[in-house]
Structure formats: C-alpha cells, structure tokens
C-alpha cells in the first residue's frame, strides 16, 4: 500500500467519516467481515469507490476490480415475457405484484440501486451520508438527470415522491418497509440538489430502502398526476413506456435523453402471461427472448435446453410458513417445533429447486446476509418431533388446514408438508386458492387486527416473500408484535426489542450479536418455518447479452443487448 493511499484513507477517517463509516472500516480491519461483505456495507453507507479501494488495500485485500460490461451489440428490440400481468394501474407507489414491478422498473429509476451482490451503487443520487447515529441521511442528487418529459430532476421531485411513499393515506405499498423508519415530515429538501431524510429511529441500512429494493421508489416529477404513469412517459430511465394494454403487454422505446447515455436496445416489447407453461413454451418456441422469472418446478424444460440460458441471483427470496401462535393448535411452541422437525429440507431443496436454493433455518437470516450467524441447522427428526407432540399433550396428533395459493412450487410444497406431518399424526388438509383469493379481504394491521385476509388469518399457510437486501422488513413486518404482515400473530417482547436493536445497530459486530440472539429466539419459538431461500432465476435465449437477474425480481435492460 503506497503512502498516498494511506494518507487518503486517514484523511477520510478523520475529516469526513462519521461513526457509522468508521464502524464499517473497523469491522474490516478487525476481520469481522470479508472483502465482499465490506464492499457491500461500504457501498450502503455511501463510501466512494476510491475510499473502498484504499480501505481494501490497507486491510491487505486485493484491489477492487469493477467488472466490465459484456461487449454490447447495438440495436434491436427485446421481446420480454412477464408473468403475471400487473393486477392494477401503474402508479409506482402502489406496486404490489411482480407484473407492475417489472413493467414500472423498465422505465423508472431510484435514488440508489442494489446490485445482485447486494452492494449499493449510485443512480439518481451521487452520494449519501449518515449523521453520527444514522438517524439522518443526507443525499446529494445527480445534476444531469432529465425526466422523460424534459424537465430537470430536483430535490422537490424527490421529496414529493418520498412523501407519497410514506403517506399512510396514499395507498402506498411501501408503507410496510418504511413503517417506524420514515414519516412524511422527515422528508426534507435541503437545497435544489440535496435531500435529507430524518428517520423515526436510527437505521444503518436505510440506503437500501431508497434503492431498487423498494421497487415502489421510482422518482417522479413533483407535478406527477396519479394514474398517468402508463399514459405519459415521465420517469428517468433508459426506456420510455410508450404504450400499455392492461393484461396484454407494453411497448418501450429507448429514451435518448437518459443521463447515462444510450441504451443498446432500440426498445422492448413486453408481453404478459398468466400461465407458467405458456411463458416457458413461448421462450422455447422463440416467441420471446427473455422471461422475468422462472422456477425449476414449473420450468424444468429450460434447464437442459441448449438454446436457453439461466440467469441466477443469489438472494433472500423465500417461502414463509407461518403458524398462528395465538390459537390452537399452534399456540404451543413445542407443536410448532415438531412441525418444523418433520421436514427433510435438503430433499425439498433438491426436489423443488434442483439445489438452486439455500436451506433455511427457521429465521429470516438467509445465508446471503452478512449479519447472519450460522446456528446448527435444524434437521428432520421424527423421534424428537413425536416427543414434543407428546409433551404438548398432542401425542395422537390433530387435524388442521393449510392454506396457500396456486403459483410456482407452492402447491407442491404444500403437499410435501402435508405428507411430512403425517409422520407425527397431524392430519392436514390443503386449501389451494387463487392468488387473488389468497390476498383478498381486509388486512388493516395493528392495532386494528389483521382483518379477514386468508394469508394473515389462517392456522398455517404458505406465503411468498420477495428478496430484500437486509432482513429488516422480514423482522419488523412479519415477526414483530405490531407487524402489519405478522401472519403468525407472534408476540414476544424480547424479540421485538432485539429486532429494534438489530435494525439500529451500526457495526456488523453488533448486528451479528443481535442476529444470533434473534435466530436463537426464533429457533426456539418457531413462529414460522423458513424452509428455503431460493435463487431468483430468469431465463433467456442465448442471444441475450449483458443481462443479470435481480434478487428482487426486477428486469433491468439498460445494458442488455441482442446478439
């Protein structure tokens, strides 16, 4: 390491870095995290590439090398298949399904972008910085950004967009992520190109929430009129949404005023599908070039086809099997543990995912998260499960109904669980709904209760959870007592405290400390089973170049080209 680099780093630590940044550097030098994890954390708290490189050199790690994009051919239109179609209009803050996430994000951009290695890179913001306890984050905006309407992006646009996202009356679907983190009053303009977020509570991972992982956070002009996203191109991205037919498809043209230059593709023709087999057949039959999301269980044919390549992103997407802890039969932790002990997870992973998944250990701490502490894996153990059932006074078993919906491998998982719990005398019936019916009904959230919707009010169910860059939302919305999506109706004060501490913790050391305790509490209480974290997979024809799967399921095409 040369002297200049050392000087630069020391200057940074002394003059620029606050406690948050220094904690991240300390974690690196104390060997708390490896290179990859450091880069991830460093990008989140807003380190520049030169500081990251300097720090790595100081810690004796190899120099940072940024991957060069694949050589891109220019021109052509990409035919994209998207399953399922958006169920509602395309106002970004209302996105709640994969269809709208995919459609909206081809044209729209966020302040930051989370990469598929969970690092955070600048997008519409060029830099971001926390105060000393990470309760205020200040973002500097890129000056060269023009909306597709022609107007320049300024702080007012960002403030309006975020106020809408955190406004409880706007119908925002990002509320669950921002709950307890950010309120409308906390979004403040500093000057024309600077925005400050004054958080409700310290949060060291806040930048993720302003990145592409919050797929509703597309920056729109301050004068955006609701219901016009699909009618007038007005986002900032590489492509303009020029036509949209609900349930059928959408057309995108390249936006030549894009701040980053010109995307290789001339445009994108998006076609919606509502049937797994139809979209797979279309890819095999060369009617489309790319599919946003595929699964091994429903798209087996793609995995051994020479014309197709599979794009994979290692993420934290998972299926959650919550058991309602406030009513029989699952109000006894021993019963819940017993159910969890009946599953042969490696076999499930092989059968449903061809091993393209991580085995879960009944907490949302996926192996992909740096904070995750590896506890002994829970294995299939029928003897122990039977003992637990007996201890809970249910040696003879009981009958219960599992609810889920028809999509991807969910019915198959339901049938595997149903057949597994038979070994401990549980007679499980299945109710497989349509996704619309599964998520239908009211779900007001505490303190008003969880309403009537099946996915929050059935004894045991299976719900799909999208990938996140940090486990915060999983902890706060699905497990904390006041969580809006607490399908387990789980209430444990110690857990609530630990989760809050985890979210606020700045250094990885502290995060790990709380993560370990959380994992232990969850493994004991087992409010929900986390059978696996599967990789987000996309499929495309061999001619598709420069495409990477996104762990949140979005489709980014600004660097994609066709051979």
């Amino acid at each position: 390491m040369d002297r200049e680099t050392r000087r630069q780093l020391e200057h940074y630590r002394r003059e620029e870095a606050g406690p948050v940044e220094n904690a991240v550097l300390d974690d690196l030098f104390d060997a708390e995290m490896d290179r990859g994890q450091f880069i991830r954390r460093a990008t989140v708290v807003g380190f520049s590439a030169s500081i990251i490189a300097a720090a790595l050199a100081a810690a004796g790690e190899a120099e940072l090398a940024f991957a060069a994009p694949e050589a891109a051919g220019a021109g052509g239109r990409l035919r994209l298949g998207c399953i399922p179609p958006p169920a509602h209009g395309l106002d970004p803050h209302t996105y709640a399904d994969t269809g709208s996430l995919v459609t909206g994000n081809i044209a729209g951009e966020m302040l930051l972008r989370t990469t598929n290695r969970l690092t955070v890179i600048p997008e519409l913001a060029v830099s971001w910085k926390p105060n000393k306890d990470a309760s205020i984050w200040t973002y500097t905006l890129r000056r060269s950004v023009r909306f597709q309407t022609g107007q320049t992006m300024r702080a007012d646009d960002v403030v309006t967009t975020f106020k809408r996202l955190v406004d409880p009356n706007s119908g925002s679907q990002a509320l669950s992520a921002f709950k307890g983190v950010l309120s409308p009053a906390g979004v403040r303009k500093v000057d024309d190109f600077t925005v400050a977020f004054h958080l409700d509570a310290p949060n060291a991972s806040f930048p993720y929430l302003t990145s592409s992982t919050t797929y509703q956070a597309i920056i729109l002009p301050a004068n955006y009129a609701l219901g016009t996203y699909e009618k007038t191109p007005q986002a900032t991205g590489a492509f303009k949404l020029v036509s949209y037919t609900p349930g059928v498809g959408a057309t995108f043209e390249r936006y030549d005023g894009w701040w980053k230059g010109r995307a290789p593709l001339d445009g994108v023709d998006l076609k919606y599908f509502s049937d797994d087999a139809a979209v797979i057949s279309a890819l095999l039959g060369n009617q489309i070039d790319l599919v946003n999301e595929i699964h091994f269980s429903t798209g087996r044919a793609l995995f051994n086809n020479k014309n197709v390549k599979i794009f994979s992103a290692h993420g934290a997407t998972h299926r959650l099997v919550p058991m309602k802890t406030d009513a029989p039969p699952f109000n006894d932790y021993r019963i819940r543990q017993a159910v969890a002990l009946t599953l042969d997870r490696p076999a499930i992973r092989k059968r449903l995912f061809n091993n393209l998944a991580d085995v879960g250990n009944d907490s949302p701490f996926a192996p992909v998260f740096p904070a995750t502490v590896k506890l002994p894996q829970r294995h299939k153990d029928i003897r122990k499960a039977k003992e637990l059932m007996a201890a809970a006074g249910k040696a003879k078993g009981f009958s219960v109904q599992l609810t889920t919906y028809k999509a991807f491998e969910l019915p198959a998982l339901a049938q595997i669980i149903q057949s597994s719990v038979k070994a401990i005398g549980i007679n499980m019936t299945l109710r497989i709904l349509t996704s619309a019916a599964y998520y239908a009904g009211s779900q007001l959230g505490p303190p008003d209760g969880w309403g009537t919707t099946p996915w929050l009010n059935t004894p045991i169910n299976i719900t799909d959870w999208g990938g996140r860059a940090v486990p915060n939302v999983y902890l706060t919305s699905s497990l904390q007592s006041k969580g809006v999506w607490n399908a387990s109706h789980y209430s444990n004060k110690r857990f609530d405290r630990l989760a809050a501490s985890f979210v606020a913790a700045i250094s990885l050391k502290d995060k790990r400390k709380y993560a370990k305790q959380i994992e232990e509490v969850l493994l004991h209480d087992t409010p929900a089973i986390y059978p696996y974290f599967y990789f987000q997979l996309g499929g495309g024809r061999k001619r598709v170049r420069g495409y990477q799967a996104d762990p949140q399921g979005a489709v980014y095409l600004s660097r994609t080209s066709l051979a």
């Binding site: 009356n169 509320l175 609900p246 349930g247 009904g441």
Partner: protein
C-alpha cells in the same frame, strides 16, 4: 316474415333485460367494498368513502343498476376499476380477438364435421360410419385443456411447426394471424367435431328416409343431385341450431384455451376481472357475451325459418 322477426326481436330485448339484471345481481355478490378493493387495505377510510362516492358505489342498488344500463345502452361501459381505463377500450380488442378465434374454429370445424356427418349417414352402419362416429365421440370426451396441452406440446414444442402463443405480434397480416390461431382452433375443432358431425349425421339420416327424398329419386334425379338439393338442406337445419348455441361457448367460454395459448380473448378478460373484483369490467364483459349469444341465436332462428318454410308462419313455440 316481418311479424316473425319483430316478435323474435322483442323477445330478445326482454331476454337481454333479464340477462342484465342477472349479471348485475351476480356482480353485487362479489365480496368487498369497491373503494377498498381499488385503494388497497392500508388506505384511509375517508379516501375509500370518497372513491366510493366518485364511482357511485354508495348509491342505492336500483339507482346503480339504472345508471349502469342507461350508460351501457349509450355505449358507455364506464371505467375499469383495476386498470382505470375505459372498459370498452379493453373489451373491444378482446371481443374482436374472440370473434376471430371463433371464426377460424368454425371455418375449420363446420365443413369438416358436416362432411363427416353426411358421409357417415350415407354409409350408415358400415365401417366408415363407425369410424367417424367413434372418433367424434372420443374427441368430444377429451376435455379441452387436455387436447390443447397435447397440441401445444406436439406442434409447438416438439416439432415447432406452429406458434404456441396465439397472440400475434403487432402488424401481422390476416394470413399470419390465422397461423397463430391455428393451434387453438384445432383444439376447438376437437371439442366441436363430434357434436356437430353427430347432428349432421342424424339430420341426413332423417332426410334420406323422408318422403320428399323418395319423390326426388322417383323423379329420376341422380344421387348427388338429390343429396345436394334435398338432403343437405335438411341435414343443415339442426346443425345451424348447434352452431348458434355453441357461440356462447366460443365467445366468452374459452378461458382455459385462452390461458393456455396466452390469448387476449374476452373469456380471459372476464375471468381476470372476476378475480380482481373489477365489477364494471365483469358486468359489461358478461353482458357483451350475452348479447353476442343472443344475436347468434336470433340470426340462427332467421336462417332456420328461411331454410325451413314450415316454421315461418307457425308459432315460435
């Protein structure tokens, strides 16, 4: 004739009115509150109430019905609740698509099955008859989703002769569109062939043994002429009725086929509207399908009476 047409027309209007009441009542069955469904579970009650007021969901049911049907008659089907665009802008494309698919399916199946039915009747009891009858019977017994799946796999995936998705790319000409529609049409041919062929066969057999046929033979006309002039015409009568009744199924009843072939037909539209509780789309879509069905049966009735003079002056019973 004019009186007959007028009476038929009046009856159709009455039927249509009753249909609209049934449809409206059925749509009211869908659980949940319109505003809540649109704005989502976390929206404020005040904004839900406001939206309900804006779309008129807070008015008495009778007022809502009258307003809906009055606008419908004027061609205004309202806004889709889920997509917030005029319902007609979506339904019109889907309806046209459904009509195209139905047309291609009929164009294939009607000549084929009439030919089959007549041929079977002329060789009644012999091998050809058996073969046609049994083939028809077996094809009719295969659920449409099974035949569609095997057609897709055989022709689209294994030998790759035909596109597996029926929705053609924009700007495809009429012949190209027909190619895209061939696989789903074939699936429908398999469903309908046995049914129509059977009717044609029965009609032909009846006509062959009728007095006028014997008279024609006695007059010295050759077999082909007799068949063309007398038998076919009578054999077609029951077939027309069958085709008319199948129109309802072909327009609006094909959601399985439309799903498997990823085709934007009206069945799929209504199905998705029902799932997402898009009441305006659902009501208008179903009513539209009903109208198409009634028009088809009305036309069939007219054709029937033209081809069969006996009915023209009689009662409609």
């Amino acid at each position: 004739m004019a009186r007959f047409v007028a009476k038929r027309l009046a009856l159709s209007v009455v039927t249509l009115f009753i249909l609209s009441v049934i449809v409206f009542a059925a749509a009211q069955l869908l659980p949940g509150n319109v505003g809540r469904n649109v704005l989502g579970p976390f929206a404020d009650q005040a904004s839900v109430d406001l939206l309900n007021h804006q779309v008129g969901a807070d008015r008495p049911v009778l007022v809502q019905y009258t307003a809906w049907i009055w606008k419908f008659v004027q061609g205004d089907m309202g806004q889709s609740l889920q997509y917030r665009v005029p319902v007609w802008s979506l339904l019109s494309d889907s309806l046209v698509n459904s009509l195209k698919l139905a047309a291609e399916a009929f164009a294939l199946v009607v000549p084929l099955s009439i030919l089959g039915g007549v041929a079977a009747a002329l060789r009644q009891g012999r091998l050809a008859d058996r073969a046609i009858t049994i083939t028809g019977l077996s094809l009719t017994a295969i659920p449409e989703f099974v035949s569609a799946i095997f057609l897709i796999v055989a022709f689209g995936v294994f030998v790759k002769w035909l596109p597996v998705n029926a929705q053609w790319p924009e700007g495809t000409g009429i012949l190209g569109q027909m190619k895209y529609l061939l696989l789903p049409s074939l699936a429908l041919v398999m469903v309908l062939f046995g049914y129509i062929a059977r009717m044609a066969r029965a009609g032909t057999i009846e006509a062959l043994s009728a007095d006028y046929t014997r008279t024609a033979y006695l007059k010295g006309l050759g077999t082909p002429t007799v068949i063309r002039r007398h038998v076919l015409r009578n054999a077609l009568l029951p077939t027309i009725a069958v085709i008319a009744t199948q129109t309802g199924y072909l327009i609006g009843g094909l959601l399985v086929i439309e799903k498997l072939f990823n085709y934007n037909g009206i069945g799929q539209r209504i199905y998705i509207a029902a799932q997402n509780k898009d009441v305006t789309m659902l009501q208008s879509g179903v009513l539209l399908v009903g109208i198409v069905y009634l028009v088809a049966t009305f036309v069939a009735d007219l054709l029937y009476s033209v081809l069969n003079p006996r009915i023209r002056f009689g009662s409609t019973e």
